[in-house]
Amino acid sequence: MNSFSSKVLLLSATLGLASAAHAQVTIYLTGSTAFRSETFNSVKALYGAGLTSLTPANATTSSSKVTYTGTIAALYGTQTVTIKSAFSGSVEGIVNLVGAANPPGVTQPTYLNIDASTDSNTVADLALSDVFQDTTDYPSSVYPSLADSQVGVVCFAWTKSVVATPALASVSNISHQQAQQVLASGTVPLSFFTGNAADTGAIYLAGRNKLSGTRLTFQADCGFGANSDATLFKLDAAHAPVLDTAGQSGGGNVATILNDAAATAPFIGTLGTGDSSTVAGGANRLTYNGVAFSKGAVQNGQYSLWGYQHLFAKPGLSATKLTLIKGTTKPADPIKSNGLANAIDTALSTSANNVQLSTMKVGRSSDGSPIFPN
């Protein structure tokens, strides 16, 4: 090799290294709102002391849009890593990753730039989901199959509203058969739950839209059909129940309906346990088939309203971005990596509402399917 070629090669290598050293990694994350609290905690933990910027600065575990910037030394060395998260539902995340045309009424979320301006990118890299891809209307038999990393267990609870209707105090349990009827008709007499024929007043159902993994889990578990069209109600400006033809876009919105003490009628709603804990501090959760939610009841198989939390990757995602999930160690079980899957698992160890996979004594093969001992 002559001297000139050597210099060119050296220059190219130097430029390449410099480029790599200064390259930024930007990863777009969307999907489940029910799991946003654990996602917030785990992403922050992954950055650790390397987190230099959080947008908005006052972001909390309930924020639906957060952008994180900094370095994650264990995964990307000194490269600046920006993770932009925007959550609007598990199914929405899957719609995004498989590249499906949006069904009517679906708008993909936008993200936040570091300066809080809008990043109009609408193509996600990763999506968290409360449900399997094949539970949705975008199954792998029709759309591209998504790589699935199960990172935890997400739990749900039927929850009643705080309104001071006397008969509501006697509403304490819902069976899966009652759940099917409430989902179909959206309203039933209170006597349907209290057993007292004199309770002729109506109780209404509030719930999520069809892009929600929460909705699919509730509907799959009681046998109503994950993608069936439920009848839902919400509150109008006069706090009276009116038909909700679309459904609520987030669990926080359902919790708001249940927390409306001025409502003219009682409600029950479908919530993740995180949002459910914001309604009367979790005291208004109903038992399901006679069993109260607790982490132990989920771990041992008595309480069935739960699903796996999935971290899906867009088909053809670059190895650089995949590193975020499985870390640099890339073990078969992503939870044992040094990536986001492990950070989520660690965050779940202190969660009051959701469960670490490794602590489960039971499992299930699909959403709403029988629960078996591991």
């Binding site: 209307d137 038999s141 029709v142 099917q180 009827q181 008709s185 993608n227 069209d229 038909l243």
Partner: protein
């Protein structure tokens, strides 16, 4: 510029501009649209079902008495199925969102019922409680709204979709087929409905066979469902709707007038002959 090249370039640019318009659109469905579902039974080897949106159900319940019109895309039936033998047809619609129509409240269903004798109207479905109808309403609505996640058949303006039997999420049989969770044998919509909404063709394309299904409006209540007319499944796989005719019953006043007129005529004739 060579005129030939210029024209070619212009054509290319025009085609490129039109290309986005050619992108397949999704199946379109709104509440109170009539769905025609055609699915193969065991006697038909087809591997797909066909779902068509026939438009607002008001076109059917407002149709002038006795009028007939074609519905659906007949050519598409021929393109989708190699034989008519063993194809089951059902027609359905539902109100799950409109609260302003007192005559057709929430959970109102419109459901077909096959005729045993093509010349004789079937027994009407029965109105049921709102809670009862809600379970079937869910199945019908889900069939339509679920299909909106699928690309429609090109050239059908979003009014038809072919669903492979292997597509478990949208499988027509899953939503219309009979179930084991109540409703009895043969009851459709997963056993939630009071009977079978389907009518099945037994003869191949072109063979003479009269197959009809009546169309009823089932509202929350306890009366018989309202008869709207009937669908005829034609020998080419297409369908025709004929609105219910009205039997003219003269009002009592009219009868009295007619008798008076007749009596006057008789009297006048007698006087004339005298």
């Amino acid at each position: 510029m060579n005129p030939m090249i210029s024209r070619t370039w212009l054509s290319a640019v025009a085609l490129a501009a039109l290309a986005p318009l050619a992108v397949a659109q999704n199946f379109s469905y709104s509440d109170q649209n009539v769905l025609l579902a055609i699915r193969p039974t065991a006697a038909n080897s087809s591997t797909s079902s066909l779902l068509m949106n026939l438009g607002p159900v008001s076109n059917f319940y407002n149709a002038a008495p006795g009028t007939s019109f074609s519905v659906g895309n007949t050519a598409l039936v021929g393109n989708t199925f190699s034989s008519l033998v063993g194809l089951s047809y059902s027609f359905s619609a539902v109100n799950k969102t409109i609260t302003s129509d007192a005559a057709r409240p929430l959970q109102t269903l419109w459901v077909s019922r096959g005729r045993i004798d093509p010349a004789v109207q079937s027994d009407p479905w029965l109105d049921k409680s709102s809670g009862n109808l809600a379970n079937t309403a869910t199945k019908i609505s889900t069939l339509g709204s679920g299909a909106t996640t699928l690309p429609a058949v090109a050239g059908t303006s979003g009014a038809a979709v072919v669903i492979p039997n292997t597509d478990t999420a949208h499988n027509v049989g899953r939503w219309i087929g009979s179930g084991t969770s109540g409703g009895g044998s043969g009851s459709t919509y997963n056993g939630t409905f009071q009977g079978n909404s389907e009518v099945t063709k037994l003869a191949p394309f072109g063979a003479a066979e009269l197959v009809r299904a009546d169309f009823y409006e089932v509202t929350p209540g306890t009366a018989d469902a309202k008869y709207l007319g009937y669908f005829q499944i034609n020998n080419n796989g297409g369908s025709t709707f004929t609105a219910a005719g009205v039997a003219v019953v003269p009002e009592p006043g009219t009868v009295v007038l007619a008798i008076s007129g007749l009596a006057a005529l008789v009297l006048w004739r007698r006087r004339s002959s005298n």
